[in-house]
Chain length 326, copies 2
């Protein structure tokens, strides 16, 4: 199957200038442009954890496998250029599964001028698993790291948070275009995408930067999905990546800890934040607080500061709703 | 687990100059050197197909996941620089499994000055699966493709073939050093590593180059393991990647079709071949025939040419011993 499938795939994708040698050799060859650095990330998704084969369309699943990696490029302020895809297929209907998954992969690649430079296919006795590696580029020295936030920086976020399990975790828009517009407009000190939970990921960014965060809780943009999930009282069943035991959570708790929002957290100077908030960069931006010298997460309530425990999804831990352990 | 595991991993590996930003951010950042192209490949292995968790050590399994990718770099004549590792771990003893696999990964990375630039860890209800992406570099325009063999070129191979299932498929030496010495010494027109079977992979190289191959069957280096496997009459049980039904094969059949030898097939001019065969490049080299204008594989027997059907492992096909279908 692999040879004929790769021939099919070669026929389905346009030649893109960023790949000199693509699918069909032992490796792909790319020529880096002068003055750029290579940015590379790799993230996989598996049935039963990140999606459910019996509920989600194969095209949506394929799309998600690429979108989560595009989100990593956005978080670095990088222009994505190419991906490699390793597919592990259950034996039953392997060819149809591969074709279905690739429908979604090809569509999102076409949207983003992203080349498929290689990968492989394995048929095995296990659940559908897709591992994607993404390559991108940034002007040399200009990658947005997690470690650059400084005391006094504004905390900006794109979009709204919580309740992504209702469907957004599959069809979200990775903030690639917004990131490039941000990079043209201001100096971003630090950035990260929210995959595991707004508060947990913000806590990680703070730790990498050696700062803390003071949050204005009323300003946190709570997604309608978080409201709906709280109103339904139960988690949607069966919720991937979450504990099957229903736990009541408020809309705010969903916003702080659900994860898979794939929105950006950004550290910029207050002056740059004010400028951005008066502009249209194609995606809603909200200031939710500022970074401080005092480490940890803090919420301002009636003029007093209270400690906020980060919550979110911890990879490789026994599943439990909103655990804060690292 | 992931955060503490990544912290452990950061502590275990040396800082290598080829990675500017490594594990711990949304993506890794590397600075390409002037005048080089980036070579990138991705290959995964899964329990039950490429190894057997209940028979092979976790360190050997981890080592193999990297070694097969190093072999792809050797096949391109590239210097490997960094890898990204996506681990999918069965729920039971996930942390111990990750640590065991990484023992082998870290050891082979240290041997090859290879940086671990990123990756992720997922715990799921499935078999152990390791997906590795490797980055390397070649002087611009100097990558060895499959498509460069011309009529009259000598066919050289490194090492010997067949019977890798007896253990070599796990602990083979990827021909990275030999490839670099070859590149310094001669002009390699085309190259490929043998993962699926000498005859099947040679047939693919021929197809990519638009040539055929005429083989001197007596010169094909048959590994002792191929002799042992033929002598035992049965396949070792249970043989990964092969049909459980025992099929008698001669040592030559094992050499032509077993695969996972991870030796190099090289196309060089006859003059360069003669030079190489009189030198020591650190690995045995053998000329097994030459490329011809007539497409297909041909074997010379008693002065007559007979067609040879390529045999080997076809990815994603229903398992069957030595099928030639593509």
């Amino acid at each position: 199957m692999e040879q004929s499938f790769l021939a099919w795939l070669r026929g389905r994708q346009r030649d893109l200038p960023q790949v000199d040698v693509g699918i069909g050799d032992d490796a792909a060859v790319l020529t880096p442009r002068p003055g750029v650095q290579t940015v590379i990330a790799s993230d996989g998704i598996v049935d039963g954890v990140d999606f459910l084969c019996d509920q989600h369309s194969l095209a949506d699943i394929g799309r998600k496998s690429v979108a989560i990696n595009l989100s990593d490029m956005a978080a670095m302020g990088a222009v994505p250029t190419a991906i490699l895809v390793n597919l592990s297929l259950p034996e039953q209907a392997a060819t149809q599964t591969a074709a279905g998954v690739y429908e979604g992969i090809l569509a999102i690649c076409a949207e983003h001028q992203l080349a498929i430079a290689g990968g492989d296919i394995t048929v095995y006795d296990g659940p559908l698993a897709i591992s994607v590696t993404i390559l991108g580029e940034v002007p040399a020295g200009r990658a947005w790291l997690r470690s650059g936030a400084v005391d006094g920086d504004a905390i900006l976020v794109s979009g709204a948070f919580g309740g992504s399990l209702l469907g957004r975790h599959l069809n979200f828009t990775p903030r690639v275009q917004a990131a490039l517009r941000l990079r043209e407009t201001v100096e971003v000190h630090a950035a990260m995408d929210v995959s595991d939970g707004l508060s947990l990921d913000l806590d990680r960014l703070c730790a990498a930067s050696g700062v803390g965060a003071e949050l204005d809780m009323d300003s946190i943009p709570i997604h309608d999905d978080a409201q709906r999930m709280a109103a339904e009282q139960d988690e949607p069943e069966p919720p991937p990546r979450h504990d099957p035991v229903p736990v009541f959570e408020s809309p705010m708790q969903h916003a702080l800890g659900d994860g898979e929002d794939f929105e950006l957290i950004l550290a910029v100077s207050q002056a740059d934040a004010d400028r951005l908030l008066s502009m249209d960069i194609g995606v809603p931006l909200t200031q939710i607080g500022h970074f401080t010298g005092r480490t940890g997460l803090w919420m301002r309530k009636k003029g007093r500061l209270e400690r906020l425990s980060p919550s979110g999804y911890v990879h490789g831990a026994a599943p439990s709703a909103n655990t804060a352990q690292e």
